[in-house]
Amino acid sequence: MFEKLIDNSMAKSPWIFHINAGSCNGCDIELVSVLTPRYDAERLGFRLTGTPRQADIVVVSGPITLQTRDRLVRTLAQVPEPRVVVSLGSCPRSGNVFKGSYAIDGPLEKYTHVDVSVGGCTPKPEAIIAALAKATEILKEKRKEMHK
């Protein structure tokens, strides 16, 4: 009977867990700047958590280098069920300028279904906020299917 209530609150308090799969830290700084006073994602209930166990939205940044590949896969597996994967910037989706290099191992699509992507080599915080907002809707949809 609380299901509808829980679904709404799922969209209202999405917690972000950030995985840096070898990124140049441009996107990482942008993601963290989303929580600063200027852009303040906390208005929408976002909160950066330390463990995948407490994460709803997993934000991946950086081309999946060989070193981070199995760590990425292992961490993604440890996120509890209704979860959404957001790829930040161009690298996860296509490997950006590192495409074809020996050190990276393919787009993020190979490992999980990427729900929302943000283009831009360091996307602007507003773009990230828009993406995260879209991610919360998808989260809500997933939660609905989960208990239907």
């Binding site: 852009y39 989706r93 296509s94 943000v118 602007k124 507003e126 773009a127 906020i129």
Partner: protein, 155 residues
């Protein structure tokens, strides 16, 4: 012990400096911001410079031969692979590629990120005469010139 106590308390009474983005429309990007690529197929002359100069090879060109020798060229720019360095825009001599200031490159499917444009590259105009005709015309011209020269001498 609490160095920023005064700052914290005074901030309490100031207006929060947060943008109202999700509420209002997204603020305009800075002037000259290298955002999403805009491709104007009409200006493009399929010289391929952008392809050569693009580091992440985010462009893809496929050429389709039409019956009258024209080429139907479609360019697809993959925004998720572009680094927005605007090299293509600089090298494009016909300024077909320009960088807009649209930074909202957000999407769920791949198609949201593709900028495509197709142009028909006219085949170069066929010479009106075939090479034999040209040879003929040349021979006629020389004959006429010779005839005029003899007329001038006779005259």
């Amino acid at each position: 012990m609490l160095p920023y106590l005064k700052k914290a308390v005074t901030n309490l009474f100031k207006k929060p400096s947060t943008e109202a983005f999700p509420a209002g429309d997204p603020p305009k990007a800075a002037e000259g911001y290298r955002g999403r690529i805009h491709y104007d197929p009409t200006k493009c002359m399929n010289c391929g410079m952008c392809l050569r100069v693009c580091a992440p090879q985010c462009m893809h060109r496929d050429i389709e031969k039409l019956e009258n020798g024209d080429q139907k060229v479609t360019f697809t720019f993959d925004m998720t692979s572009c680094t927005f360095c605007a090299m293509c825009a600089d090298f494009c001599s016909s300024h077909a590629i320009t960088m807009t200031d649209d930074y909202m490159i957000v999407g769920t499917k791949l198609e949201d990120f593709l900028v495509t444009g197709t142009m028909i590259k006219k085949a170069p105009p066929k010479p009106k005469f075939t090479p034999e005709q040209i040879a003929e015309m040349k021979a006629k011209a020389e004959a006429a010139k010779k005839a005029k020269a003899e007329a001038a001498q006779n005259g």
